[in-house]
């Protein structure tokens, strides 16, 4: 296994971390409309992710930065080619971050409602668009001989990619519902389990179609294993949710996310962005990667820093391990 293969794996790991973590906080954002019945409940939901959403988002920045450093051509083609969808994602992430931090800083109801609306849409849109973007990466897009994107905006919204969007949206929302059941007390906890049930079923249908389509189109032995794990984990997550085993349900919905991402990356390898025009114009781990020297330095850095990150991020979840209910909200919202 050469270093550029290692970095392919590491970037897959970073995206997995991102979708696992921000997946549930996107889901919680969507649930502020889907699950919460009143404003205190919406506050409970927002506070389940309050201390952690920012750290979760850094997984995206790291995935982006690592792609830039390890596969500059992949980074360049992806971000210039998928310009407008990524612009939409960026705008959402900007507004979303501000919404979380500023919503409670004024007591006026109109102010808070505005930011709550923002939280819903800016969670829903990226949750959908990431699926569209990854659907296109796996399926391949028109790349010319210089590895430049030669398609149009419309090309990115093909049925396969749109289905991918639906999968990420439903899967993340399911993941968020399971997380909510794990992190809350009272009525909202019970209803979160109910929401997770029907969301899980919708996810199961859309994900099964999408993953089997991917397998038929691009898959190999490895991706088949990941597919089976993803589907099995999803079914077991649903069962655990039904049985009220919330910790298990969350671990298993997380495993579904991880196995799905793994499956996409396994069907991609050794390409990183296939060209639909000519296989010779595809970006691969070899022709898109940085020099061995750069990759070696990065490997050292990742080897030392990643375990530390996992350690202190897990510690954060432990510090904030208490469940939250309406009774725990600070009385004065405008702190």
């Amino acid at each position: 296994m050469q270093l550029h293969d290692v970095w392919f794996v590491l970037i897959a790991v970073l995206w997995t971390g991102y979708f696992f973590l921000e997946g549930f906080d996107f889901g919680v954002g969507v649930l502020t409309r889907l699950l919460a019945r009143n404003r205190p409940e919406r506050r409970v939901l927002i506070n389940t992710i309050g201390p952690v959403w920012d750290g979760n988002e850094v997984w995206l920045l790291t995935a982006g930065g690592a792609t830039f450093a390890a596969f500059p051509d992949w980074y360049a083609t992806l971000f210039s080619g998928f310009y407008l969808p990524l612009l939409a994602v960026l705008v959402c992430l900007i507004v979303r971050g501000v919404a979380f931090e500023y919503r409670a800083k004024r007591p006026e109801e109109r102010w808070q409602r505005t930011w709550e609306t923002a939280i819903f849409w800016t969670s829903l849109i990226p949750a959908f668009l990431w699926g569209v973007i990854f659907g296109n990466i796996v399926r391949g897009v028109p790349l010319d001989r210089h590895f430049e994107y030669a398609g149009t905006l419309g090309d990115l919204f093909n049925p396969y990619a749109l289905l991918g969007g639906l999968v990420t949206l439903t899967l993340f929302t399911f993941h968020g519902a399971v997380f909510t059941a794990l992190k809350t007390v009272g009525d909202i906890r019970r209803r979160a389990r109910g929401t997770a049930r029907w969301l899980g079923l919708v996810t199961a249908v859309s994900a099964a179609v999408f993953l089997v389509w991917t397998q038929a189109d691009k898959g190999d032995g490895g991706s088949l294993v990941a597919l089976v794990v993803a589907v099995a984990a999803l079914v077991m997550a649903l069962v655990a949710n039904q049985l009220g085993r919330e910790g298990w349900a969350f671990a298993l919905s997380g495993l579904t996310v991880a196995a799905s991402v793994a499956m996409l990356f396994l069907s991609l390898f050794p390409e990183v962005m296939p060209s639909t025009l000519d296989p010779a114009w595809s970006l691969t781990v070899t022709n898109a990667s940085s020099s061995p020297y750069t990759l070696r330095i990065m490997t050292w850095c990742a080897a030392i820093a990643t375990p530390l990150v996992l350690l202190y991020q897990s510690w954060t979840y432990w510090v904030f391990r208490k469940r939250i209910g309406i009774q725990h909200l600070a009385v004065d919202a405008a702190h």
């Binding site: 309050g50 830039f68 971000f79 210039s80 960026l90």
Partner: protein
Amino acid sequence: MDLALAPETLARWQFGITTVYHFLFVPLTISLAALTAGLQTAWVRTEKEKYLRATKFWGKLFLINIAMGVVTGIVQEFQFGMNWSAYSRFVGDIFGAPLAFEALIAFFFESTFIGLWIFGWDKLPQRIHLACIWMVSLGTILSAYFILAANSWMQHPVGYRIDKARGRAELTDFWAVLTQNTALAQAFHTLTAAFLTGGAFMVGIAAYHLSRRRHIREMKTSLRLGLVTVVIAGLLTAVSGDTLGKVMFKQQPMKMAAAEALWDGQQPAPFSIFAYGDVRKGHNTVAVEIPGLLSFLANDDFSSRVPGINDVNKAEQQRFGPGDYRPNIPVAFWGFRWMIGFGMSSFALGAAGLWLTRRKFLLPEHLRVGEDEVPRLVLFRRKALGENLTRWYWRLAVWTLAFPLIANSWGWIFTETGRQPWVVYGVLRTRDAVSPTVSQTEVLTSLLVFTALYAVLAVVEVRLLLKYVKAGPPELTEADLAPPTRIGGDSADADKPMAFSY
């Protein structure tokens, strides 16, 4: 295509707008993190309540500010790929690594510990909670260093070779990229300027309250902390600016000649206070100068020769082929002056303030004030400032809050436009760095979207800051004074509300 709307021009405007905007928040974040941490340390050590109130007050302003810094930073990470894909392909092997390091080491640190700090008041024992804000501070400084090392490589590329076959620059010595003198000087200058910014921010807001005789205890402490920060950081900004200038005279003589509107090399070279010139003909029509000073700034020697714009342009034409290698001279010239002028004005106001509000052992008995009184502004040994002058000093002190922000912006505009037409000096031209397949419409769309969004957020942010500035330090609650002893919080009452929630 109309040059004003060429994708390169639009992409440059977009980078300029998003980056200058982002950098309004960065220096405040860096310095307020450390200053808040300092105040919280004082609280933990002395248990004086004014320190805790001050910590909460400045911490709140810090949080409003860092939120904007974080979200506008996301754009910074991705716009290289969006608008500058040719640049990304060409330099990714070198430039990507510091960015990845920044995310992996600094961003995770910052974002995780800020969450712990915001929500941790009733979840973490006092000292661990304090350690969290220091971690945030460390994260902001590390982050700055990595990104400045990356930028320094664009100013003065080192530790690389050109791979002709793959048509890109490749890293050969990462240590050189991280520790070259450009990076050290830039980091020194940027960090000291950041503290000047935060110090002035504190001085301005403390002056606002003191001139209205409100929250006197906390604001006197804040004023002093702010003034001391402004004076020390201001001095160091000047020293580091001089160092960076000397480095730049060697590495980018064009930038510095443009900064001085020095058209033809002179020995000794004068420092220009004011100039008005004809760019096309390549000379100044009006110039007010101090003889010899530029020679000194460039080479520590009042009689040395400094090359001019026309000399460097010729030399670069010989090295890199025909073309115009001059940046926008008026922008460089005035940007340089506004940077120094605004930065040093806030330093001067800070130094004056530190003297005027000096402690009682330097004052005669009748001019001393008690702990709950606004300090008298005392100019000479026995003479306090009159009412009018006092009012003016407080007013100026409030304004000084904006000066370093303006200086920082012009500093970046100067150093980035002064490097043109290069994006990586001597290696890659800006016009060869843009994304070849991104259309004019796409760049224009994102330019308009970001500008509009940032404008709206600026209004929201400033109004929120004003609200919290005017509100002053909060009253302390019982929970504030009884921090938990266990990690995760003491569980005496399972239904007790959290000390903080969104």
